[in-house]
């Protein structure tokens, strides 16, 4: 290992400051290809989450080819008119089709339904039809078009991941799912980690009765297995009539429905807050532990002897020392929060279904039944995206750990250990 390090150090002497930094970055990237892959996956999550659909300052930008909620249709050409038709005609002669009784089709802008099959000579059919509301004349050779929902289409060029049983584009849903995951992950981590850090600092700094009260509260919340706690809280808070929900809907600027392209925005937000609670509990415990040792430092005593208030000491002298820890906690807990959302949505409690969440897409009963019949794509791709993102975060974490402490190569303890949000591998 010593040789590996010595060589680039010699090179660095000769390079200007800027080049040296890039050189070092390239060297690091070369030694941690998996970390680079992880960074790529995580960037992909952010890219897809943000640019899935942007509608800001009058500019509309979207990387999803279709609306994730819309039904996709396909147009078949059933045949062509063999003879021209005028507005009064009740019979059509058609070449190259097999029209059935009751089937309907479009002739230019007119919708036509077959009421009776009159005759069939080779490839040419004559049928009696019911014309549309304002029948018009059509020339010979006009195509008969038939439009139907494109359900369960195989992955193809126009639908890279196929369509699901409701004819929605799976590719668009998967990309859009990144937005749900990212939103829930960020909201959960930001609210949870900031609240948890604040409580942890207060709890550790004051000690005594305040510490006891906060820590017993933490004990109580940590006593629940994370999945069970989340399921219970979301069931109660997410209820149509729950007080919290009504408060969020009426007294905060949060939109109840449809926002940033997400239907059921409030439900999504409530799920994020519940996960934030689990994240916050875990953060409180960890930050408090760090504060206990930080507050023994001489500079804290010095600040106090100069007459600094408790609030000032906490804000100016203790908090800056836990910032690094808090940032690391946030980045470790982000994939945990994303996975938690997918898990509870999969169990049918989290984000409700029309919303394109990865977990909810995996829980769709109909899709899962159809999957066993060979229609694997509506379930496979959302789950694959979820696994890929979590994999990316884990690889970044591993590479980061290797860089900061080469002794512990690949020892990753991320996600393990005691605790609410981070209570082991599934959650």
């Amino acid at each position: 290992m010593a040789q590996e390090v010595a060589l680039p150090l010699q090179l660095e002497e000769e390079l200007p400051e800027r080049g040296r930094r890039w050189r070092r970055l390239a060297h690091t990237a070369h030694r941690h290809p998996l970390g680079v892959f992880g960074v790529f996956c995580v960037s992909l999550l952010f890219f897809c989450g943000i640019f899935a659909q942007v509608d800001i300052f009058g500019v509309s930008l979207s990387i999803v080819p279709y609306d994730p909620l819309a039904i996709n249709r396909e147009t078949d050409v059933l045949g062509t008119l063999a003879a021209e038709v005028d507005a009064e005609d009740k019979q059509l002669t058609v070449v190259g089709s097999s029209l059935e009784l009751g089937s309907s089709f479009d002739l230019e802008t007119e919708r036509i339904t077959v009421t009776r099959l009159v005759s069939e000579i080779g490839d040419t059919h004559t049928v009696a039809v019911a014309r549309g509301s304002s029948p018009t004349a059509h020339a010979e050779g006009v195509p008969l078009k038939h439009e139907a929902a494109l359900a369960l289409a195989e992955p193809s060029f126009s639908h890279p991941f196929g369509t699901d049983h409701l004819a929605r584009d799976v590719f668009s849903r998967t990309i859009f799912g990144a937005r749900i995951s990212l939103l829930i992950g960020l909201v959960a981590v930001l609210t949870g980690v900031s609240t948890g850090a604040m409580l942890g600092v207060i709890s550790g700094y004051f000690g005594k009765i305040i510490d006891t009260i906060i820590q017993r509260g933490v004990d109580i919340l940590l006593a629940f297995p994370a999945v069970v706690l989340l399921l219970a809280i979301i069931t109660v808070v997410g209820d149509e009539d729950s007080a919290v929900r009504r408060f969020l809907a009426s007294s905060t600027p949060l939109p109840d429905r449809d926002f940033v392209g997400i239907p059921n925005f409030l439900d999504v937000f409530i799920v994020a807050l519940a996960i934030g609670l689990a994240v916050g509990v875990f953060t409180t415990r960890v930050v408090r532990g760090a504060v206990l040792s930080i507050k023994e430092n001489v500079y804290v005593d010095a600040a106090r002897s100069m007459g600094a208030s408790d609030a000032r000491i906490m804000w100016r002298h203790i908090f800056p020392n836990v910032v690094a820890l808090v940032v690391i906690l946030g980045s470790v807990l982000l994939p945990v929060a994303i996975l938690a959302e997918a898990t509870i949505s999969f169990l049918g409690i989290g984000v409700p279904l029309p919303t394109p969440s990865w977990g909810a897409d995996l829980s769709d009963e109909k899709s899962r039944t159809l999957m066993l019949e060979g229609y694997w794509w509506p379930v496979f791709f959302p789950g694959f995206a979820l696994s890929l993102i979590v994999l990316g975060f884990n690889m970044v974490g591993d590479a980061f750990r290797d860089l900061s402490d080469p002794r512990l190569r690949g020892s990753g303890l991320g996600g393990g250990g005691r605790g609410g949000g981070g209570g082991g591998s599934p959650l």
Partner: protein
């Protein structure tokens, strides 16, 4: 040591009271009580009243009364107090609100063996899949074995268990025309037919174990790397002991201490995991029961099950700390 255990158990009491209080209040803030949920909002006042009396919902919620002829604090004759009191006193965990109203304790009797077997087999699989590759990759660092083990561990850590389960069921059927043995109806207890029973549990526990195995593998690897640097390992080598003896007898024994505690700490994850896996594989265990009860808003069942889970979890954490002291004589609690 004994004092330590006693003190920890005493701390457990307020924690469990807090847990029970939280669960109880959580499910009583939903508008419409259990009877409204059961009978629907369109039911007549008379049937509601009957139902409330039958389930004791006409009692006050909490055992604290102001402006009443009862003492300020009275354990019985309140919903919360009676629920808590009945658990140790009558082994009564309450009754389901669903049609038929099965006793929670009867249901548990039927379902607990399934969940416990699932958990035990999961831990066994996780140890087998985790420890051996972890040791191998620590003994041969930066070799293909090591890379393979590390890539496997990060993959296992990343794939959610429910997704893995779905993939195994689907592609097993599509590619190999294989379906997992049916559990929903025909669960066979181990004593009746061990072979069928093991077949039924093999895949659910394998899927559930993968994530835990990954964590165990990483921990084993780092603990082994740490231990292998110690002086007594060098001594063992210089005595001319065989590699097998050095690694498995001298190093692994010490490296396993953190692994044991880790397994204990995974109980919470395991409980969450059984909720997921039992619903995917249609195993009628406690996890599936919990999920169904939560979806049905079956208050009495949910509050008792949650309390039980929390109790098991807290107790297992305590056991981990105690086991730690037994395994590592250098640790003292006082």
């Amino acid at each position: 040591m004994r004092n330590y255990i006693i003190r920890r158990l005493l701390i457990l009491v307020p924690v469990m009271v807090g847990v029970s209080f939280l669960t109880f209040s959580l499910f009583n803030v939903i508008p419409g009580d259990a009877c409204v949920l059961r009978l629907g909002f369109g039911s007549t006042p008379e049937t509601l009243k009957d139902c409330r009396e039958q389930h004791g919902l006409n009692r006050p919620l909490f055992p604290i009364s102001i402006n009443s002829d009862l003492p300020l604090l009275h354990v019985q004759n309140s919903q919360y107090g009676d629920w808590l009191w009945d658990i140790p006193a009558h082994q009564d965990l309450g009754q389901s609100l669903a049609e038929g109203g099965a006793e929670v304790s009867t249901e548990l009797e039927r379902r607990l063996p399934i969940t416990i077997q699932l958990m035990i087999m999961t831990i066994i699989f996780a140890l087998v899949l985790g420890v051996a590759p972890g040791v191998l990759s620590a003994v041969r660092p930066n070799t293909p074995i090591d890379w393979l083990a590390r890539i496997a561990s990060v993959l296992w850590l990343s794939i959610p268990s429910f997704y893995l389960a779905i993939l195994m069921i689907t592609f097993g059927l599509l590619w190999f025309d294989w379906t997992p043995p049916q559990f929903g109806s025909g669960y066979k207890p181990f004593m009746d037919d061990p072979w069928i029973n093991l077949q039924q549990f093999f895949f659910p526990s394998l899927v559930l174990s993968v994530g835990i195995a990954a964590v165990i593998m990483r921990l084993t690897r780092s603990a082994m790397l740490e231990v292998l640097r110690n002086d007594y390992i060098r001594t063992a080598w210089s005595k001319g002991l065989r590699e097998r003896t050095v690694v498995w007898r001298h190093a692994l024994r010490n490296a396993l201490i953190p692994v044991v505690t880790l397994v204990g700490l995974q109980v919470g994850a395991l409980i969450g995991g059984t909720v997921i896996i039992e619903s995917v594989y249609n195993l009628n265990g406690v996890g599936k029961y919990t999920l169904e009860a939560i979806i049905r808003r079956d208050l009495f069942v949910v509050q008792s099950l949650t309390l039980m889970f929390a109790f098991v979890y807290v107790l297992s954490n305590l056991m981990v700390d105690v086991a730690y002291a037994f395994l590592d004589p250098r640790i003292h609690y006082n």
